[in-house]
Amino acid sequence: MNAPAYNFAYLDEQTKRMIRRAILKAIAIPGYQVPFASREMPMPYGWGTGGVQVTAAILGPSDVLKVIDQGSDDTTNAISIRKFFAKTAGVATTTSTADATVIQTRHRIPEASLQSGQVLVYQVPIPEPLRFLEPRETETRRMHALGEYGLMHVKLYEDIARFGHIATAYAYPVKVNARYVMDPSPTPKFDNPKMDNSPALQLFGAGREKRIYAIPPYTQVVSLDFEDHPFTRYRFDAPCALCGAEDAYLDEIVTDDQGSRMFVCSDTDYCENRQAAGHRGSESAAPHKERAHD
């Protein structure tokens, strides 16, 4: 510990116990939103207060932490959370997906497949998938309890009626373990299939809404759809401009004011590993020119 002023991983032990109990319950009932007494964190709501609390509760001294924001290791949010835990818990941090034991994420699931023993912690803004159709919390809880999920299909129906296809591209509702309908946080629906039967434990923390939910390892996660409009992944139809990856989720980057753009992997670690292994895209003149630094 290099920060004696704080308890290990910032939160006090009682709070961590409370959060761990919520996590255990969430794991026992896959997809169910467990209420917990969310604490104020030294960061604003919407910056990952839920994810940070979950991470603080599960972190041990021997853990290796990776934090990503929109797939990237080197954005403000990712760097500051990584530094936060480096300072308050003194744990080792990494940008490598394979080396990490705990990965806190906002809006993405890493491209490299996760391993048994790894924990993926999601930051969740609005945990309730039914919220925009049913504003009453009492009613949505009842609907979850009774498994009344017709309303979720109403949303998908509206998409098809309006756009001709299911236009929901992120926060795409899933059914966990054939029971609870769950909002996978605003990850792109491209990542939905990665949640199914994943060997890693997936934890979701919503700080403002005070909910924790989980997908235990090797749990069935099915994206909702219609028989005649099946679920499809979505990605830009281009290879990554830096590493040439055909299978990764891409960010669209505007490069000038003349309408030029390039598509690059949103997962920086994946992209860098591919470039290091010799893969090249159309614009990768100088591979490895940048790495995330702590």
């Binding site: 159709l133 009842r142 009774l146 009344e148 017709g150 309303l151 299909h153 109403v154 129906y157 509206e158 098809i160 009626a161 309006r162 759809d225 219609f226 028989e227 005649d228 409009h229």
Partner: protein, 263 residues
């Protein structure tokens, strides 16, 4: 009515039904049976307990005394109070319909008409977009809504269209019993006439049983086979519609009937 419809097994039975809020009694001691295919009108002035009664019958309110039993699709008569919440809600969205006076209460105003009609189908597990849409559009046709407006939200509809959409939304799962709370309230006369005509056709076509709460005796006369007159939370007169309206016995019913302006 029982003979005309060839069954003597009641669909819904109310026994000694009462609801009070402290010293205030909303309705008391109400007993009747409703048979399949029968339309019962509950008439009375406002504040006479009509809507409370409707809510008691549809298990939205728990009665203070008495009970309501309903014959489930398997033929067993069951006390509604003994049903679990899940069963009750399932009943409500499959075997029953509830038409609100204000369509905004019974519809999702922000989603399209097609989704409004399809919601019940999706709730019972329909997962085929094409079939849901086809069923929704055939129901819109039946309630005389232009199918070109299937993707419009009901908030763009007129009052009469909203009410017809609400009826379509309720009937899509082919319920056996429909509760209607002042279904023609707030509509202008010509729209009322069309709606009544439509409801009468649907009821006879589908063999629906219906309980219609109304203060409009014309609605009762057009739609119902039987009438219950309520005053001060009690049923004061009941009988066949023509009988009650043409030859009222109770002074209050006489007053009610005579207060209709002659055409």
């Amino acid at each position: 009515m029982t003979d005309a419809h060839g069954t003597d097994e009641a669909l819904l039975v109310a026994e000694g039904l009462g609801k009070s809020y402290g010293r205030l009694t909303a309705c008391q001691d109400i007993s009747f049976s409703l048979y399949p295919g029968e339309v019962l009108a509950i008439v009375g002035e406002s504040g006479s307990g009509k809507t409370t009664l409707l809510q008691l019958l549809s298990a939205q309110l728990a009665p203070t005394s008495g009970r309501v039993s309903y014959r489930m699709r398997d033929g067993v008569l069951r006390d509604l109070a003994s049903l679990g919440e899940a069963e009750r809600r399932f009943l409500f969205r499959t075997d029953w319909g509830y038409v609100h006076q204000d369509p905004a209460q019974g519809l999702r105003m922000a989603v399209s008409a097609g989704a409004n009609v399809g919601e019940r189908l999706m709730a019972v597990g329909w997962k085929h977009y094409g079939r849901i849409r086809q069923t929704a559009s055939s129901w819109l046709e039946r309630v005389e809504i232009d199918t070109a407006r299937i993707d419009d939200a009901p908030r763009t509809y007129s009052g009469g269209m909203r009410q017809r959409l609400q009826i379509a939304r309720n009937l899509v799962t082919e319920p056996r019993l429909v509760f209607m709370d002042e279904p023609t309230g707030g509509l202008d006369v010509s729209v009322q006439a069309r709606l009544l005509d439509l409801m009468r056709n649907l009821v006879s076509e589908l063999g629906l049983a219906a309980i219609v709460v109304t203060h409009d005796l014309a609605v009762a006369r057009l739609l119902s086979h039987r009438v219950m007159v309520m005053k001060g939370g009690r049923v004061i007169e009941t009988g066949l519609t023509d009988q009650v309206l043409d030859d009222p016995h109770e002074p209050y019913t006489q007053l009610l009937v005579s207060s209709i302006l002659p055409p």
